[in-house]
């Protein structure tokens, strides 16, 4: 499920530069449950290490600032590929799960 979560994070970032807390909010709104910071930031770090997103710090008014993530060209390509793979996988899995029961 971790790979899917990473894909979903990539999809959220594709909508424009955004930061950790807002990404968690989008995932929760999408019904994916409350994603903890301890899960989310390592995923973002991995995406950045793979060159799929870039990050930059923006100063907050009084707070400690926000780290904004932006999709890269490689990120857009990866998002397309992985989304297709995910659709193919879920279709096959769904077909198997809904196949008629064959008694041995």
């Amino acid at each position: 499920m971790r790979g899917v979560l990473s894909l979903c994070v990539l999809r959220v970032v594709a909508d424009g530069p955004t930061y950790g807390y807002a990404i968690a909010g989008r995932l929760a709104d999408a019904g994916l449950g409350a994603v903890k910071g301890g899960t989310l930031y390592p995923i973002l770090a991995r995406l950045e290490a793979d060159g799929l997103v870039t990050s930059s710090w923006e100063a907050g008014e009084a707070g400690p600032g926000r780290k904004f993530f932006t999709l890269t060209g490689a990120g857009a390509t990866a998002l397309g590929e992985r989304t297709e793979q995910w659709h193919a996988f879920t279709q096959r899995a769904a077909a198997l799960l809904s196949s008629p029961h064959v008694p041995a």
Partner: protein, 190 residues
Amino acid sequence: MEYRLTTTDQAWCDDLLLALRVRDVPGARIGEVLAEVQSHLAETGEEPRDAFGAPREYADQVAAALGVSAPDGVWRQLVRGLSWRDLAGAAVIGVATYLLADGLWSLGAGESAVFGLPSWLVALAALLVLGVATARIVTAARSGRDDDAVIDPRTGADMVGFPRSAVALLVGVPLLSLAAMLVGGYLVGW
């Protein structure tokens, strides 16, 4: 920066910093992780343990995400980082401190020091050695041998400062102990 962590949050961050250091995560990356945690906590008002779990476990996750391999144990790292010069320096400082304490005690008591040497001479020589040793340590620390500092990505500042209170403690406690030696010797000797 106006933003301040609570003491418990800061303690959690300190543990995380140490855990990341032990896992050989680069200093600049540690700064990023700490800044992310601070930002997240300020944004959500969550407790660090609730949001990120135990410092060590979170450090494991970060190291895994970055593909940093776990190094050998803390002790092996510590031992590997020590040179014979460090050990010899520690021995010299230890002996000089003992001689200074003994010299001051004898001075207070009005007796001669070790080997029947004049107490003022022993104390003065030990003080000189300690002064040189301290100067060497301070210059080494100042010259920025730490080429992998934990840098705050927002300000570029070193996140692991050496506060004045720590300096005061490091200087004050030995001075106080040595003064106590002088007084102790005086009280016992007269």
